[in-house]
């Protein structure tokens, strides 16, 4: 058992994080990988992943909406699974590979879901969009893996209802929901089932 004792507030601030290319055997236990780059964990254990992205790494694509896990604006992928970055301490993710919205495109090539969101006008103000896209990237894999949702066991089933249920952790206060579902359906239709 290892122990990290405080003081937690007066430690040196990590202004410029230690960034290095990710080693072949993955990030070390005192680091996490974000979009393929390895970073040292923040000194203050109270730092959530969301605050680490903003305050230490200047990665502002992941948005802070409610900061309580209710809106989904901060959705990121951990080892391909979506989570709320506001409800996890950075230290809980040591050794993990995280993908934020900045890592969704491959170089200059947009992810098909990003293109579909543009094509379908699946946003208005755009504040929730990075979370919506990260969430839908994970959703694509969940559907390919045939994981169930609450709609799987409901009285009335439709594919659109199923997508809405699976995306219910991402709120859009502009109300772009129909277009968001359209965008997701466009891409999922292209996927071999």
């Amino acid at each position: 058992m290892s122990t990290l004792k405080g003081p937690t507030l007066k430690g040196p601030t990590l202004k410029g994080p230690t960034a290095s290319s990710q080693p072949k055997d993955g990030p070390s236990p005192t680091c996490m990988s974000i979009n393929g780059v390895s970073y040292a964990l923040p000194n203050d254990p109270r730092t959530t992943l969301l605050d680490f992205l903003h305050q230490n790494l200047a990665l502002f694509g992941t948005k802070k909406g409610c900061d309580h896990g209710q809106c989904g604006a901060c959705t990121v992928l951990v080892e391909g699974e979506r989570i709320n970055a506001c409800l996890v301490f950075a230290f809980q993710l040591r050794g993990k590979a995280i993908t934020t919205i900045e890592g969704i495109a491959k170089n200059d090539e947009l992810n098909p879901l990003q293109s579909a969101f543009v094509k379908r006008d699946a946003f208005q103000c755009g504040y929730c969009t990075s979370g919506q896209i990260c969430s839908s990237v994970a959703l694509q894999k969940e559907l390919a893996d045939k994981t169930p949702s609450a709609v799987t066991f409901s009285e009335n089933y439709s594919a659109r209802e199923d997508i809405s249920e699976r995306m219910s952790g991402n709120l859009c206060r502009c109300g772009a929901y129909p277009n968001i579902v359209d965008a997701i359906e466009d891409v999922i239709a292209l996927e071999p089932q």
Binding site: M1, F91, F153
Partner: protein, 340 residues
């Protein structure tokens, strides 16, 4: 957020070497605890991080039961249970709770231990006996639409928010835990939670330093199963009323009834009286009503939640009617009522 010291538990056996600091808390997924720490509803002086605790991350099948490790996520358990006919009820309950993002982090033990979503528990400007013993209960005389009707006391009417625990109650789950001395104990989930009484801040029988290691789910026929959750929006909302039910019907007689109620109890509610009244009886509307009368005899309403007894009646009638119809059409069916 208040500062805290941080310790890591890597192996179950290391529990014996943990320092016994009063007010230390284990942190697994953290989806509820971190939120409460931000609001300073919870202010632990030390967190024992379970991120590297690998021992309890799997579900194993045995002759008589399934053993679900404490760190198995809600997503993993929902996926596993969806493929296991006798556990369909559990999968349905899990999938009706929270969101994919939260279920990916939330763990089995953490779900059992999550705190109430009573507005006044979260609002540190308001008295709350659960948060600050002896300060009073704001909910009793205020807006209490989401609050409990079963198991309440003059000191607390907060509901337990879990869907998973309601299904586990219905499925006769047991909780396995380890003491700081390394001793393992198992007890029925039905004996795990404490009703508020005069001590609403004591929510379960875990003692300082004890850690849940697993949930045991016995293998047994639950028949046709349905988790029906009534709430203010169709997804990502806590239950106003939920019914977890499994029914085995033989010549219109109730052979086996698994039942749990959510959104109505200060603890995930096991309706022993209703189950006893219906087991062995003909499944008629009149008998369901009689069973509900008997169960609701101990219920108490508080103003804004006066609608809950009738909503519970309507929900149980709807669920049992649908399950019975399915059992008559497909005798000895085992699994979900609806599956798409």
């Amino acid at each position: 957020m208040q500062p805290f010291n941080l310790t890591h538990l890597n192996n179950t056996s290391d529990i014996k070497s943990l320092s016994s600091i009063e007010g230390a808390r284990f942190i697994a997924g953290g989806t509820n605890l971190i939120d409460l720490m931000k609001l300073q509803v919870e202010t632990p002086v030390e967190l024992v991080d379970l991120s590297d605790w690998q021992d309890e991350r799997s579900i194993t099948e045995h002759d008589e039961h399934f053993r679900v490790g404490a760190m198995v996520t809600n997503t993993e358990l929902a996926n596993y249970a969806s493929k296991t006919v006798g556990l369909s009820l559990l999968s349905q309950a899990l999938l009706s709770g929270a969101t994919v993002q939260l279920r990916n982090r939330a763990t089995t033990a953490g779900n059992l231990l999550q705190r109430t979503r009573c507005y006044y528990f979260y609002d540190t400007a308001k008295p709350c006996n659960k948060r600050e013993p002896g300060s009073g209960c704001t909910a009793i005389d205020s807006v209490n639409r989401i609050h409990a009707i079963f198991g309440t006391s003059e000191n607390c009417i907060a509901t337990h928010p879990s869907d998973m625990a309601v299904a586990m109650m219905a499925l006769d789950a047991q909780v396995e835990l380890i003491t700081p001395n390394g001793e393992t104990k198992t007890l029925p989930l039905r004996n795990f939670y404490c009703k508020p009484g005069a001590t609403p801040h004591i929510e379960n029988c875990l003692k300082e330093g004890e850690l849940i290691t697993a949930v045991i789910l016995p293998k047994r026929a639950a028949g046709t199963q349905y988790y029906h959750k009534v709430r203010d929006r169709s997804s990502y909302a806590f239950a106003l009323v939920s019914v977890a039910a499994g029914l085995v019907l033989q010549n219109n007689k109730v052979e086996k009834l698994s039942l749990g109620f959510g959104g109505v109890g200060t603890v995930p509610w096991y309706p022993a009286t209703a189950i006893e009244a219906l087991t062995g009886a003909q499944l008629t509307e009149a008998n369901i009503e009689k069973a509900l009368d008997a169960e609701l005899a101990s219920a108490k309403v508080y103003g804004s939640n006066n609608f809950k007894p009738q909503l519970l009646r309507n929900t149980l009638h709807k669920v049992l009617r649908a399950l019975a119809e399915h059992q008559r059409t497909y005798p000895q069916h085992e699994g979900a009522l609806y599956e798409n």
